[in-house]
Amino acid sequence: MIVVPCPNCGPRNSSDLRNAGELVSRPDPDTASLTEWRSYLYLRENPAGWVTETWYCRTGCRRYFTIERNTATNEIRDSENS
């Protein structure tokens, strides 16, 4: 169980939060092609290394925020509110 540094609550067990996945940007739904849209829906980098991801502080402040986490080592180096 890793510790996730919530920018509002301080360090918390990951079971107190929900990992909302890699940060992806949402195309304009009115103009995006289906291909662009499905890339947004389904394609992720999934690196063995540093990734920027969104977490939701489920049992704490209920804020979404992003951190940079190394998926190979679980080292975490940054966190900020979305």
Binding site: N8, C9, S15, D16, T59, R62, R63
Partner: protein, 191 residues
């Protein structure tokens, strides 16, 4: 409205260990008001506490900084309307009476910290959660708002949760307290 009895989600009365080491009481009937404000509003200045901290107002109301830009006000039963009236109405501020929406318990005594540590993963050491600290956490798998609010040096936690979880949570905390001398009534025993 004629005075209707407030029906608590918890049927049990107060439970306490004979040595006074721990006690658990239902405070669900307390008036509770949730205040949420936009970042640039005056509510924060008015309420004078930030997230994670609490203070007691001169009228006895406990003001808790329960989340960023969010406060919970706790007062005696029947004070909901007064609480609502006591709040500023400027900028984007929402005030919701959650008296009926939250069950609330008081867990107190020197053993309360060890009982709570059986059902809650937050570090309850004096420096991490000092008197006055406000935090949210999973207690026996129910998301709760907690306030450490000691009474005359007696360690005290106010624990509130969504009303429908109230009966379960009271029973779960009572069960954790059994080790410290509380006799759990048959009707809420988890075993």
């Amino acid at each position: 409205m004629s005075e209707l009895d407030f029906v608590s989600p918890v049927a049990s009365g107060a439970l306490s260990a004979s040595g006074g080491g721990i006690a658990l009481e239902d405070l669900s009937d307390r008036s509770k008001v949730l205040v949420r404000a936009g970042r640039s509003t005056a509510a924060g200045t008015h309420l004078k506490v930030t997230y994670g901290h609490s203070r007691r107002r001169r009228d006895g109301t406990l003001i808790c900084g329960s989340r960023p830009d969010e406060w919970t006000l706790i007062a005696d039963p029947g004070q909901g309307a007064e609480l609502l009236a006591s709040l500023p109405d400027e900028g984007f501020v929402s005030v919701v009476d959650i008296t009926h929406g939250r069950a609330m318990f008081r867990l107190s005594g020197p053993d309360s910290v060890d009982a709570l540590a059986k059902v809650c993963n937050i570090d309850l050491a004096d420096d991490m959660t000092p008197d006055g600290a406000v935090f949210s956490a999973s207690v026996a798998k129910v998301t709760c708002d907690l306030v450490r609010s000691d009474v005359a040096d007696r360690r005290t936690y106010l624990i509130s949760c969504e009303r429908s979880f109230g009966r379960f949570l009271f029973a779960a905390i009572a069960d954790a307290c059994a080790e410290f001398g509380i006799d759990v009534p048959e009707d809420i025993s988890m075993h």
